[in-house]
């Protein structure tokens, strides 16, 4: 372990020195070049890496059983899990992307951020406690509770791996570009560094290390964002009216930034995106997995309450940060690419593009040291999210595909965990390769696709298997697959991919987000194929609903499942 950590630290140093040599040559990133080497950021990031590797070492010494590896032994408290969920969910894309959207459009950024929050209450009301009462390590445990293991776990694993793959590619490419920009590291080194660290966290420290990386990251991100929002509001004597007035004056769109703009032009698209965000959140495998790390349903419930609070608070902060960037940056040419005659576009000419608004604001309110801190936090943010994704993917391979589908449950626990660690390493390497391959591709649609698949495959299968007695294996399998396939096909045929990525003239499917249609297909498919399933097997599954129902509502029998 120590030797490995040493190797990775060395790799980091190598990457840094490599970056130094190349940082002179500006890389062609959208809207700006690579930044000069950011020394305070790198020092703070190395401190973070050293601390998390220390935690990983400690976590590795405590990770003995499968329950430790997949679910941190169920020993995480509700509050800790709430923070970890927030750390798992708040990506660099939401921090930099939403504050950048507020910077560019004002109120529209708020509309967008709301969508990322409203799924959480639904998870609490319908999913969290039942998930904890029925499952052990993955959401497939719940879907396959009374349904046939082989088809349902295969489906859940494919759904999980699809979501993880798209989410991970988007994160890796974003990470590479962001780190290139923030730290002055070359893209490939950045991607390798992220991949290597996530492998170490997951393969050695399992869920315990992943959880603590997420908790620390959530604390750093919330702390840093709170400081920025506080400094911005302080500039205006803590009057939001004064801040908005200054922003309206400075922003080229003036009063338009205080009203809805072009984000919701078409109601069908807006509803479809809303459904994907709302129910996709409830189908994200790395999020669902977090509910097995707490002792019981009561703690699962508490975790969502805290997580909703942290995430909601965070989105309010990003809104203030976006307005802070408008008021404190737009009149300062040093943050912009200025033409020879001194002119610049106050939105698009910002160095590094609008996603860098929060980063520049960190410099404006806290100087270069705080800029370094926020850059390091952005890096830590990526690591926490990719670690959660990798663990979810590795668990789907070892716990669902291998242990249940291939070995039919006849596998020793330590062998299953070893396989999971191996799967984490493979997923990490594949993620590095995909990050490299997709460097210059448009990956913006991939997070949307991940949410669409989660909402159209994982969520319907999970919901119907728990709530509807009539669900049969055949129904869930066919409906889930139809949801998965239709979501992917519709995204491929959508304007974002068919036109913007493949370069065809007209899109074959008019909406960028398919959830409204693909979710309908999934639910109707599950209902229809369950209804017409008259097999003896289906009857047995319907009969088994009662026992599942009682356990999902009361948790009776759930505790023994973990302590097995």
């Amino acid at each position: 372990m120590r030797a490995l950590a040493f190797v990775f630290a060395g790799l980091g140093l190598l990457a840094i020195t490599g970056g130094f040599a190349e940082s002179v040559a500006a890389a062609a990133i959208e809207g700006g070049g690579r930044q000069p080497l950011n020394v305070p950021a790198i020092i703070m990031f190395l401190i973070f890496v050293a601390a998390t590797l220390g935690i990983t070492k400690w976590a590795a010494s405590r990770t003995r059983s499968a329950a430790d590896f997949y679910a941190a032994g169920g020993g995480i408290t509700g509050f800790q899990n709430g923070l970890a969920i927030a750390g798992d969910y708040m990506s660099a894309a939401s921090f930099l992307g939403i504050s950048g959207l507020v910077f560019a459009t004002g109120f529209d950024g708020l509309i967008y951020s709301v969508g990322w929050l409203v799924g959480w209450p639904i998870i609490l009301f319908l999913i969290a406690e039942r998930l904890r009462n029925l499952g052990k390590y993955t959401f497939a445990d719940v879907a396959a509770f009374r349904l046939e293991a082989t088809p349902i776990r295969s489906l859940a694993a494919i759904g999980t791996l699809t979501v993880v793959a798209f989410y991970l590619i988007a994160q890796m490419v974003g990470a590479g570009k962001l780190i290139e920009l923030l730290f002055g590291l070359p893209y490939l080194y950045a991607v390798i560094l992220v991949g290597a660290l996530m492998i170490v966290y997951v393969a050695f420290g399992g869920m315990v290390a992943t959880t603590w990386v997420q908790i620390i990251k959530a604390g750093l991100l919330l702390g840093g964002a709170t400081f920025m929002a506080f400094m911005v509001l302080g500039t205006f004597g803590f009057s939001t009216e004064a801040m908005f007035r200054a922003a309206v004056e400075i922003h080229p769109k003036h009063a338009a930034i205080m009203a809805p703009g072009g984000l919701v032009s078409d109601p069908i698209s807006a509803i479809s995106l809303g459904l994907a965000l709302m129910f996709g959140t409830a189908g994200l495998p790395h999020i669902l997995m977090r509910f097995f790390t707490v002792a019981d349903a009561k703690a699962a419930r508490k975790s969502v309450f805290y997580a909703t609070g942290f995430i909601g608070y965070f989105y309010i902060l990003t809104f203030i940060i976006g307005f802070g960037a408008i008021t404190l940056l737009m009149n300062d040419p040093s943050y912009f690419k200025v033409a020879a005659d001194g002119a610049y576009n106050k939105i698009t000419d910002i160095l590094g593009g609008t996603n860098m608004a929060a980063i520049h604001l960190a410099n404006a309110v806290g100087g270069s040291l705080f800029l370094g801190f926020i850059s390091a936090v952005a890096f830590a943010t990526i690591l926490a999210v990719v670690a959660g994704l990798t663990l979810a993917g590795a668990s789907a391979v070892s716990h669902d595909l291998y242990a249940s589908v291939i070995a039919k449950g006849k596998v020793a626990e330590d062998k299953e965990v070893r396989l999971s660690k191996f799967a984490a390493i493979v997923i990490g390497i594949v993620a590095i390769l995909l990050g490299y391959i997709f460097e210059n591709q448009n990956v913006a649609f991939m997070v949307g696709l991940a949410f669409a698949v989660a909402a159209s495959c994982n969520f319907p299968v999970l919901l119907t298997s728990v709530f509807w007695k009539g669900t049969t294996s055949r129904g869930a399998l066919l409906g889930g697959f139809l949801g998965l396939i239709s979501a992917v096909v519709m995204v491929v045929l959508s304007p974002a991919v068919w036109v913007k990525t493949f370069g065809f003239k007209a899109a074959l499917f008019p909406y960028d987000n398919p959830a409204l249609f693909s979710m309908t297909i999934a639910f109707v498919g599950i209902w229809l194929f369950s209804k017409i399933d008259r097999s003896a097997h289906a009857r047995a599954e319907r009969d088994a609903f009662e026992a599942q129902y009682v356990r999902s509502e009361t948790g009776i029998g759930a505790a023994e499942a973990l302590a097995h």
């Binding site: 109120f107 708020l110 509309i111 951020s113 709301v114 969508g115 929050l117 409203v118 959480w120 209450p121 639904i122 609490l124 009301f125 319908l126 406690e129 939001t240 009216e241 908005f244 007035r245 309206v248 009063a255 205080m258 009203a259 809805p260 984000l263 919701v264 078409d266 109601p267 807006a270 509803i271 809303g274 709302m278 009561k298 419930r301 508490k302 969502v304 309450f305 909703t308 609070g309 909601g312 989105y315 309010i316 809104f319 009662e546 026992a547 129902y549 009682v550 356990r551 509502e553 009361t554 948790g555 009776i556 029998g557």
Partner: protein
């Protein structure tokens, strides 16, 4: 827990009270969240001017407090659920569990 236990518990009036109360609360709160969120989106889609109206003589528009209220509502709704679950549903669940023992 065997199948017999399960049907036994399911017949228990306490269990029926638990699931009935919890389902009613859960679906009501879910519906509230859906109405709040999609209501917000519907206003933006069909009557965006409403949210763009300034409050009084200031530049702050109606949309700002409304947007923040949608965020706050998510947290408040989860709070309502957790409160009722802790004070009402957990004691009933405990009673059911004690009977099974």
């Amino acid at each position: 827990m065997g199948v017999n236990d399960a049907s036994h518990i399911r017949q228990d009036p306490l269990f029926q009270e638990l699931v009935h109360k919890r389902a009613r609360l859960a679906w009501t709160l879910s519906a509230a969240m859906l109405v709040i969120y999609f209501g917000f989106i519907a206003i933006i889609a069909f009557a965006p001017k409403v949210l763009g109206t300034p409050i009084g003589n200031g530049v702050t528009t109606v949309g700002i407090p409304v947007g923040l209220l949608v965020i706050a509502s998510a947290f408040v709704l989860t709070g309502i659920y957790v409160r009722r679950a802790n004070s009402e549903f957990d004691p009933i669940t405990r009673q059911i569990m004690e009977k099974v023992k």
